[in-house]
Symmetry: C2
Amino acid sequence: MLPRPVPLQLDALFVTIVGSMAATLTTGSFVPQMVKAYRTKRMQDVSPYLMALFASGTTLWLAYGIFKADWVIIIANALGTAFNLVLLYMKYAYYKSSRLDEAR
Amino acid sequence: MLPRPVPLQLDALFVTIVGSMAATLTTGSFVPQMVKAYRTKRMQDVSPYLMALFASGTTLWLAYGIFKADWVIIIANALGTAFNLVLLYMKYAYYKSSRLDEAR
């Protein structure tokens, strides 16, 4: 006789912890990009579509989090939207100042 | 008399559609970055920590999706992990070839 398959028994708290760690990593990943861009004042190789699409996506995730009343999703995506709008602004500002340098 | 507040009544299908659109945008946002990097063969201004942390995060989101048996989360994060590992490899490959160019 085959052994009975063990069902996936996972504590809700454990799943919430995994989700929170996941959210911290994916949202936090934009912090080193902001630091690098701020230090080098260069974002030429970073696609503006990355930030624009990501910020649009996290805005929808924010709505999803509000519908589901899920604080992990709400906080992670509010921060994710903010970080990507800051990066998009940095891209624009550094592009403009590099054009001014060239014109000098 | 004040009007009675309307409770947030949202169809489950609508919420799933918003979540799927959100997932498509956040995961898809890495496609233009891959295209740009492939065309220019340059990723100097892109932080490797962005891709490394993001791929770690989406791996945990993948586990979260499996625990919750949520296909939107599973598919979006499997693709998100793959895209960011490809970008990390491109960063390494273009860095190495730019060093070879300098040495010539």
